[in-house]
């Protein structure tokens, strides 16, 4: 493992070797020099000369300098990442982003030491135009759509109001601090403070994602934090640009403030529209890619990037555009394009976003080493404190209000994670470089770097232990009995079911309307003719198949010895039962499932898998009803017999493929055998199909088992 660490060092050595070999003023020497004997290396080109003869061996670094250096940086970043994952216990303690920043610091320090000048920094343009889009695209493409839209109100609440609260709070309090420390900070005006507040309050999706990787965060929380960090971009960037343009105006009137408010709306909605437009275009284009399947993934990337660039050109929110584009085109592209292309799209997205993120962190580290630092204790410390305080109070207040309107309350643990997990990252960093020059700009830069490093290192490393501490405390306080847990969860499921029956008017109304519109018009237009699912059963099934290929495994912890059933259970057994219950039962209809892992995509996938179920389904009769998913087999008298009910109760929840190899349920009751696609069978044929299907599923049972929770994500 130590060997892998030497590689990045070797690379950085070669990198700085290349950098130092290039003199500040480059005189590109023409190749056909007058003959000179000996080895000439002062300008980076090495040649052994024979008089008047052809050069056998020569090196010309300038020719390839730019791409060479870029590749070396990327190589360094990736090797550091590799080394991180191979280094034993480090990933458990230190999040990846921290390690990358440290590597960057190291490399930056080395370069600085050798060249005695600042190492190359991350230019804001490079960041915004090249490094940020892949990450956001990846996030948008894999966004759990249903969960996102169901929590959209809360997310918007946090994003817009929370950011405003943070910006104004931090800005105004910083101004207060500047007034107090008038001697050193007197020339920082209110607008400057507000500007700084707007860029430092932004929670960064990149940093947040990379830290949440390591944590056991349920999906609802993940989507809240992540959605907030995505959407607050619109608010942040607009406020930033607003304050910046205010700074340039001789004076600011009330009208300007009003116009600024309008601008926020325009930027957000504008970005949305641009994204929608390009998303639909991409979907339409993908419809015709059947004859040139190899370039189908390219369209996804091109259109998304185009939407980003277009909205940046129009000074709209690029992040919103690209996210909207990805969300819009995803379902149509997935339906139109072959499985292999889908896989390619996903892999490329993951790869690019991974590289981008790594580069960003490394450059954050490198850029920290420079000459431009200006330190001021009151400013820096108060900024740190204020960021924490305002975020905490903001989250508490907003949650108190929003919990009244939500069915699944945001618990205190969640609130803590949201508040403490508000990491700042490279967006703040780039924004601070873009400020027009003014005397205290270097102070701002230094402060930003300090805040970023603090949040990433301190908050990033301590959030996991703190959360675990909270969990322990919570457990100690109120230990529900096992019965209570089981019954409570049953009631949760019941409530979810009743809500489905009643229809939750208001919210589902729009969702139903959209689904209807989608099915009737959009799908016909945007999806290839031969790929249009004949019934929504098929669609759901395909979706579940795909998800299953992407899903994670979750292993249940080992529990009690089965022979111990007779005697009273020991405390530790009780504890593990409780752990199982709280982990497994608290998911489901609340959709609080473990979030997808950012850095893994497929587990074991067999190419043939997707084809089997489709063949199976084409034999099913058509159900023309709109939202039908399952057919509920019944006995003659309508009241189900016991085993049947149990079977279908189980079949509902396991609509797809494989069964856990160690599942003894297959033996113990017929119910488990009903797992795959049983719900789709017409009742008459069910009995006949059970045995062949069981065999099929048992064949595939050697693979991972399907996590229970997936099916509940996809409803209707």
């Amino acid at each position: 493992m130590a060997a892998l660490w030497t590689l990045p060092l070797l690379l950085s050595a070669s990198l700085l070797g290349c950098l130092t070999l290039t003199p500040p003023n480059e005189r590109p020497q023409p190749h056909n020099l007058p003959p000179s004997l000996g080895i000439n290396s002062s300008d980076g080109s090495l040649s052994v000369d024979l008089p008047m003869a052809l050069r056998v061996f020569s090196m010309d670094y300038h020719h390839v300098q730019a791409p060479f250096e870029i590749v070396l940086w990327i190589m360094l970043a990736s090797l550091a990442k590799l080394g991180f994952h191979w280094s034993g216990r480090v990933p458990a303690v230190v999040p990846e982003s921290c390690v990358l920043i440290m590597v960057g610091l190291l490399v930056g320090g080395v370069i600085y030491g050798v060249r005695h000048s600042a190492p190359p920094t991350l230019s804001a343009d490079a960041f915004f135009l090249f490094l940020l889009p892949p990450i956001v695209l990846d996030a948008g493409y894999f966004l759990p759509g249903r969960l996102f839209f169901e929590n959209l109100g809360t997310i918007l609440w946090y994003a817009v109001l929370g950011t405003l609260w943070n910006v104004l709070g931090i800005g105004l309090s910083l101004y207060g601090v500047c007034l107090l420390a008038h001697s050193s900070l007197g020339d920082v005006s209110l607008l400057h403070c507000l500007l700084f507040g707007s860029l430092i309050a932004a929670v960064d999706p990149v940093a947040v994602l990379s830290v949440f990787q390591e944590m056991q965060v349920n999906e609802q929380l993940h989507i809240l934090v992540f959605g907030e960090s995505l959407l607050n971009d619109a608010v942040t960037v607009v406020l930033y640009k607003l304050f910046e343009s205010f700074l340039r105006l001789p004076m600011v009137s009330g009208l300007d403030v009003l116009l600024g408010g309008c601008r926020v709306v325009v930027v957000g909605i504008g970005g949305l529209c641009v994204g929608l437009f390009f998303g639909l275009l991409a979907a339409l284009t993908s419809r015709f890619t059947s004859r040139a399947q190899v370039i189908a993934p390219l369209f996804v990337f091109l259109y998304s990037y185009l939407s980003y660039l277009t909205s940046e050109m129009l000074h709209l929110s690029g992040i919103m555009a690209i996210v909207t584009c990805a969300v819009t085109m995803k379902q149509y592209v997935e339906a139109n394009v072959s499985e292999r292309s889908n896989t390619s799209i996903q892999y490329f997205l993951k790869m690019w976003s991974s590289v981008s993120e790594t580069l960003i962190f490394i450059f954050l580290g490198v850029s920290t080493i420079q000459d431009v630092h200006m330190w001021s204790w009151p400013f820096v410390c108060s900024t740190l404190l204020l960021c924490l305080i305002w975020r905490a109070t903001g989250v508490l207040l907003l949650t108190a209000v929003v919990n009244k309107l939500r069915r699944n309350a945001v618990t205190f643990r969640d609130q803590f994670i949201i508040a403490y997990g508000g990491l700042r990252g490279a967006i703040c960093f780039s924004l601070v470089f873009l400020i027009d020059d003014f005397p205290k700009k270097r102070l701002f830069i230094t402060t930003t770097i300090v805040v970023i490093l603090f949040t990433v290192f301190v908050q990033g490393m301590t959030i996991k232990p703190l959360v675990e501490l909270l969990d322990v405390k919570r457990k100690k306080r109120a230990l529900p009995t096992v019965s209570e847990e089981i019954h409570s969860r049953l009631i949760d499921h019941l409530l979810a079911g009743i809500e489905d029956v009643v229809g939750y008017w208001g919210q589902h109304y729009w969702k139903d309307k959209f689904e209807h519109f989608n099915k009737k018009y959009l799908c016909r237009f945007l999806i290839r003719n031969d790929h249009q699912a004949s019934s929504s059963i098929l669609r759901v099934y395909q979706e579940l198949e795909r998800r299953e290929q992407r899903g994670d495994e979750e292993e249940a912890p080992p529990l009690v010895d089965p022979r111990s059933l007779g005697r009273p259970l020991l405390p530790e057994e009780m504890e593990s039962i409780r752990r199982i219950l709280s982990r497994n039962l608290q998911n489901f209809n609340n959709k609080q499932t473990p979030a997808y892992s950012r850095h893994t995509l497929h587990q074991d996938t067999t190419v043939n898998r997707t084809r089997k179920p489709l063949y199976r389904h084409q034999s099913l009769g058509e159900r023309s009803s709109y939202n039908t998913i399952t057919h509920f087999p019944q006995g003659e008298d309508g009241a189900l017999s016991e085993p049947q009910r149990a079977r279908t109760g189980l079949s509902r929840s396991h609509t797809v493929c494989s069964i856990s190899p160690r599942s003894t349920l297959l033996d113990s009751s017929v119910s488990a055998g009903s797992a795959p696609t049983r719900s789709m069978d017409p009742k008459a044929a069910r009995e006949n199909r059970v045995s062949p299907k069981q065999q099929e599923t048992m064949e595939r049972a050697s693979r991972k088992h399907l996590s229970f929770v997936f099916e509940n994500e996809k409803q209707q």
Binding site: G497, W505, F632, G649, L665, Q715
Partner: protein
């Protein structure tokens, strides 16, 4: 909401229903619209197929049981009054309204809510949750993530905790007692059915 009495006339026995369940006229009307939407064949009553058409219910681990709970044992169809009566269980409990209490117990009282939940376990309606019934529910909820032995242990523990008269089954009274610390009125209510 503009629910004039003329639209209420579509609903038979509207006034009695409102009084029995406590729903307002507006809600009753909305429920009627929902009933009609669910009733795809326009037969005037609902069958289990109409419920299965709801995707969310299909994905629900206890979806089948919920649907069964809607229909009285032996019945295959459900008309609007029964639909409303079942849903009345999920109205939030109105603590401030104390109409003497000697009146007929409102459907959304704590007792009735718990009874409804109890029936989800007790499918054979014998008044007790046997170990097997509990296991079935656990299996449905926990599914394939947990092995059979673990399920057995969990069920064992649950019964041990709740079973006071040692008959190896949980009666309704024991069920109620085990949930006495849980805020059922709030948990089993759907806010907008107020």
């Amino acid at each position: 909401m503009g629910s004039s009495s003329s639209s209420l006339n579509k609903i038979p026995n509207a006034q009695e229903l409102m009084q029995e369940t406590g729903f307002s006229a507006a809600h009753l009307l909305r429920l009627y619209e929902r009933f009609e939407w669910l009733d795809r064949d326009n037969r005037g009553n609902l069958s289990p197929e109409d419920f299965e058409a709801l995707g969310g219910l299909a994905m629900n681990p206890i979806g089948g049981r919920i649907i069964c709970a809607f229909f009285s044992p032996g019945q295959d169809t459900m008309d609007f009054p029964s639909f409303v009566r079942i849903l009345a269980h999920f109205r939030p409990t109105d603590r401030h309204r104390n109409k003497g209490g000697t009146q007929q117990e409102l459907p959304n009282s704590r007792n009735r809510k718990l009874k409804f939940a109890f029936q989800l376990y007790d499918m054979d309606r014998d008044g007790k949750i046997s170990r097997e019934e509990l296991l079935q529910v656990l299996r449905a909820m926990l599914g394939l993530q947990v092995t059979e032995e673990q399920l057995q242990s969990i069920a064992e523990r649950a019964i041990k905790e709740a079973d006071l008269d040692k008959d190896d089954a949980i009666s309704f009274e024991e069920f109620k007692k085990s949930l006495e610390k849980v805020n059922i009125e709030e948990k089993m209510s759907i806010g907008f059915l107020q």
